[in-house]
Subunit: 199 residues, 2 copies
């Protein structure tokens, strides 16, 4: 005995969502059918629209439904002459929330990972080179994640900047604010010592 074909299909389709297995999908399907058909219809429409219209910004590669995202469209952002390089659109929001950075972004949509077949062209480093040779930017800030792949990517882009004679910097590693020394891992503590500043 199985559910009716359409319900079985709905449960299978819901497992396309990350972190949703068969049991959760079943719970979601019945919740929507019993209690929130309007919400489900809305989700169906928005999913369709988003998958059809959301593309990459032509300049910074973040997700947007316009040809240029809001930040790339803002002339004030270009004046700063700074380019922050991040791995994902979520990272742009995280940096924006600091209110510290007033320049533009370049979103790699991933990181170098030769083992998965992700080389410089897959993360748009050819487009980045074009952007850097335009002469609009005086400084590149490398804000890739502090992981092995993120560090390798940052290193690769730093070399590129050196060739193009643009100064590049990397976000500081060290103690998180509000953290306790006792609970900071050894690697981070080592970086915090190496990067110590005179006060």
């Amino acid at each position: 005995m199985q559910y009716s074909p359409l319900i079985t299909e709905l449960i299978a389709a819901l497992t396309h969502l990350p972190g949703v297995g068969k049991k959760s999908a079943q719970r979601m399907a019945f919740h929507l059918l019993e209690r929130n058909r309007d919400g489900a219809m809305q989700l169906s429409n928005v999913l369709h629209n988003a998958m059809e219209h959301v593309k990459h910004c032509q300049s910074c590669r973040t997700f947007t439904e316009s040809s240029l995202c809001d930040i790339c469209n803002d002339p004030m952002r270009e004046e700063a002459g700074q380019l922050c390089i991040v791995e994902s659109p979520q990272d742009v929001i995280a940096v924006e929330q600091t209110l510290e950075f007033k320049g533009r972004y370049f979103v790699l949509m991933g990181h170098l990972s030769p083992i998965d077949g992700i080389g410089p062209n897959e993360i748009g480093l050819d487009e980045l080179e074009g952007l850097l040779t335009s002469g609009k930017f005086k400084e590149v800030i490398l804000a890739t994640n502090p992981t092995v792949e993120g560090e390798a990517t940052a290193h690769y882009i730093a070399q590129m900047c050196k060739t193009l004679q643009i100064s590049a910097s990397r976000l500081a590693h060290g103690m998180p604010v509000g953290g306790e020394l006792e609970y900071v891992d050894g690697n981070t503590l080592m970086h915090a010592f190496t990067g110590r500043r005179a006060i």
Copy 2:
């Protein structure tokens, strides 16, 4: 700084799913946009179809896209003369998996809960009465959940059966098979004593 309007809308729509908050919705939206646009399109179509076509079975009230579900359509099922009353379509599948029951079902789609405004008509007890007076069923098996509301619902339906002179039984309460006496809760153990059988 926010995501583009369409992405913000997508994140909001994904929170219609049960157990999905803002952070998970964000992760889902970016996963679909980056890695599974085909899956998202399929989900959008299936959601639309299911919400439009899945209705209640005219006889047993379970979810189905036909006017009668597979079980109600099967004449062999009616011959058994037994009607099993459950709270949800998921319960039908659970009972079917035992391969023990060969009769038909009636799905309440909930339980009596006066405090939430759910009375006999909301759980289809008028339809159930029509079904029972048809003379097709000789026995009613009450398989509502062993919760306060489930017990109250079973009691209400048992009274209805008494008036209509149809025998009604309730699923046995007792020790779960493979369980250990030490870890069974007192209430269940009490029921297991009361319901003890000669061997």
